[in-house]
């Protein structure tokens, strides 16, 4: 799952020799501890028609940019990227990476009506209703006069209809990525999935790539500075709050980041709370105040 090769069974001496030989041949060794872990991605455009961005190229770019962090543990805890070309998430990114990057599109699903006709002729209308129309999570797809009609503004790009009718339907042409943050396996706070922090961004050009790198750097800076020992970025967000986190990495809140707005009414509106009402400047949020943290964790 890591994409790393693990070589087992060497002695102390031969481990050094093997490591040197691997590095001399252009491979890196490492990727453990509180460091950037080896990136993983799906097969992407190399052999998949569904991939919405170049997962292999972005994997290489992020690896090369942050190769130092892969070898020199300098983060509060491990950080994993997994990149999937579409919502099928073959890289298992939402559940198993700190920063899932998922391919998506923002225009309309491409429909080949001739292929739709062939599919219905072969499988029958009721198959299409049972397995495509009623399985759509937002009920935005319907079958009218043997034609597929999609209300694309309600589509959440889940890929299901495309998976079933993959000759007839295809992702749109205006492709990009959705970026999430905070997935991890069970230890400590229980399993967490990544949650959306960037609903959509293009990831085609060098400038797009620079934007992504800048975002990663801002996240690492804030989490690196304020995260506690062994605190994954998802746990950190849970502690400081997603609102505070967004403010500090410079991203505007967006309704796509939550399943629904909050339901509990106990809110500290900063604008209404002293000392801001007296016009005094706003200090750092108390949840990330280093002094308080050190007091709590003094051993």
């Amino acid at each position: 799952m890591t994409g790393d090769i693990l070589m087992l069974g060497s002695t102390n001496e031969s481990t050094y020799a093997a490591g040197e030989a691997l590095m001399e041949n252009g491979w890196d060794i490492g990727g453990s501890g509180g460091a950037l872990r080896t990136l993983a991605c799906c097969i992407g455009p190399a052999r998949c028609e569904m991939s919405c961005y170049d997962t292999l190229e972005v994997t290489k770019r992020i690896t090369d940019t942050y190769i130092s962090q892969l070898h020199r543990p300098e983060l509060p805890y491990k950080f994993k990227f997994k990149l999937s070309g579409c919502a099928n998430d073959c890289a298992n990114s939402i559940q198993r990476s700190d920063m899932p990057v998922m391919g998506t599109w923002r225009d309309n699903i491409q429909i080949d009506h001739e292929e739709v006709g062939k599919f219905i002729a072969e499988k029958g209308e009721s198959y299409v209703i049972d397995n495509v129309v009623t399985r759509c999570p937002t009920k935005c797809i319907s079958l009218k006069n043997k034609k597929i009609v999609i209300d694309d503004k309600d589509c959440v790009h889940c890929m299901h209809c495309i998976n079933v009718m993959h000759k007839a339907l295809a992702p749109g042409k205006d492709k990009g990525v959705t970026i999430l943050l905070g997935g991890k396996r069970t230890l400590k706070i229980g399993d967490t999935m990544g949650s959306v922090i960037v609903p959509f961004m293009k990831l085609d050009t060098d400038e797009d790539m620079e934007k992504l790198i800048a975002l990663i750097s801002r996240i690492w800076e804030f989490w690196g500075e304020n995260g506690m020992e062994h605190e994954r970025v998802g746990e950190f967000i849970e502690r400081v709050g997603l609102g505070t986190f967004l403010e500090n990495i410079g991203i505007e809140p967006d309704p796509q980041m939550v399943k629904h707005p909050r339901t509990n009414s106990y809110i500290k509106f900063e604008e209404y709370t002293a000392p801001l009402m007296g016009g005094e400047p706003k200090g750092p949020p108390s949840v990330v105040n280093k002094e308080i943290e050190e007091k709590e964790t003094t051993y």
Binding site: R47, C48, E49, S68, H71, D89, C158, H160, T186, L187
Partner: protein, 359 residues
């Protein structure tokens, strides 16, 4: 004078050029694929806009490979696939050929030279993801490769056929850190008592780090026989074993009491209802090497019920959502107990807060 031994200073080589390692047909049609077909279980056909066709034969691998086996795999790839192959995230090996005539000879060699099964595509049980286990992890309470071998022997027919309602992914984990991950069916080890502390050997550990890693703050400093050590508040401890990862002198494993539990309904993809976590199905199965027959029986019960009533495109979690947990427990014969009711953070969000009941 001998040359000083280098100490593995990182070279920062960076990621290799991936295009060097892709089949030439994949490089030629990079980003220009049109559609795919499943020719038969284990064989995929990808068609590019240019009309080029690439056949992929998927074979199950035992994941941990000897150098001899790696050489044999490479020989097969050299003979049929211009020297290229790839591994999937579930540790299947994919061999690619461009000529449909080459598919059957390739499958023959995979069977005869490697002895690997061909399958794992579509609505099958793909290769089982497992953790390191007794092979080289320092924490395992049970084996991984061995239990996977025992399970896959039983599930072989479901690997080489596509006869389930939807794909089924299985994982196993040998301790409660659960590196195996979320899956449709997961077999995970459970510990049943707090770590046993070897106070005479605690000095090898970083004690503050060990205190900090406890998710329920059950560990505190204590001096034992004049030596710095740690104490575990037993009422708080939930036997997760996080401390054991930090400090080997806090032994959580116990061959006498550790058991296995089965979890169902995990799903990674954002398709349809989105990704989901797996839920406890049954527990208290004996950790019974070398074949773990009780685990095999329980997995078989789940799969039989799923095959009987699952609908097309319904993953195990989606199937249970439709038929309800009441019917799931009835069909599998597992007993629903108080331990199935969550007690951790956000437990209340898992309760039924409607009057929707199946009667």
């Amino acid at each position: 004078m001998t040359t000083p031994v280098k100490k593995l200073a990182p070279r920062d080589n960076g990621a290799p050029d991936y295009k060097k390692y892709l089949h030439p047909m994949m490089v030629k049609n990079y980003g220009k694929w049109k559609y795919y077909e499943r020719v038969k279980p284990g064989v995929l056909k990808h068609v590019a806009h240019s009309g080029d066709v690439l056949y992929t034969v998927r074979a199950g691998s035992p994941r941990t490979l000897s150098v001899d086996t790696v050489r044999k795999i490479c020989d097969v790839a050299d003979k049929h696939c211009q020297g290229f192959l790839r591994f999937t995230t579930r540790c299947n090996i994919e061999f690619q050929v461009t000529n449909p005539e080459s598919v059957e000879p390739l499958i023959k060699d995979i069977h005869e030279i490697l002895g690997f099964p061909v399958g794992g595509t579509g609505n099958s049980i793909s290769n089982i993801i497992h953790t390191q286990g007794w092979m080289h992890c320092n924490l395992p309470g049970t084996d991984a490769a061995g239990s996977v071998k025992a399970l896959m022997d039983m599930l072989y027919e479901d690997f080489i056929n596509e006869r389930l309602p939807q794909r089924v992914k299985i994982s196993t984990s040998c301790c409660q850190i659960n590196c195996g991950g979320q899956a449709d069916i997961a077999i995970n080890l459970q510990h049943h008592h707090p770590p046993k502390i070897n106070h005479n050997n605690m000095q090898i550990c970083e004690l503050p780090k060990t205190v900090a890693i406890c998710p329920v703050a059950a560990i505190r400093p204590m001096t034992v026989n004049g030596k710095q050590s740690l104490d575990v508040v037993e009422e708080k401890c939930m036997y997760c074993g996080a401390c054991h990862g930090q400090c080997p002198s806090m032994e959580i494993r116990d061959p006498q009491t550790d058991t296995l539990a089965i979890w169902v309904g995990g799903k990674a993809a954002s398709t349809r209802g989105g990704p989901s976590f797996m839920k406890l199905a049954t527990f208290g199965l004996p950790n019974n090497p070398p074949r773990w027959p009780e685990v095999g029986d329980a997995v078989r019960k789940i799969l039989d019920a799923y095959k009987e009533t699952g609908k097309d495109y319904e993953r195990i979690g989606e199937w249970i959502d439709r038929i309800g947990w009441k019917r799931f427990f009835e069909m599998t014969g597992f007993k629903f107990t108080k331990y199935h009711i969550d007690t951790y953070r956000h437990a209340r969000t898992t309760f039924n807060t409607s009057s929707h009941v199946r009667l």
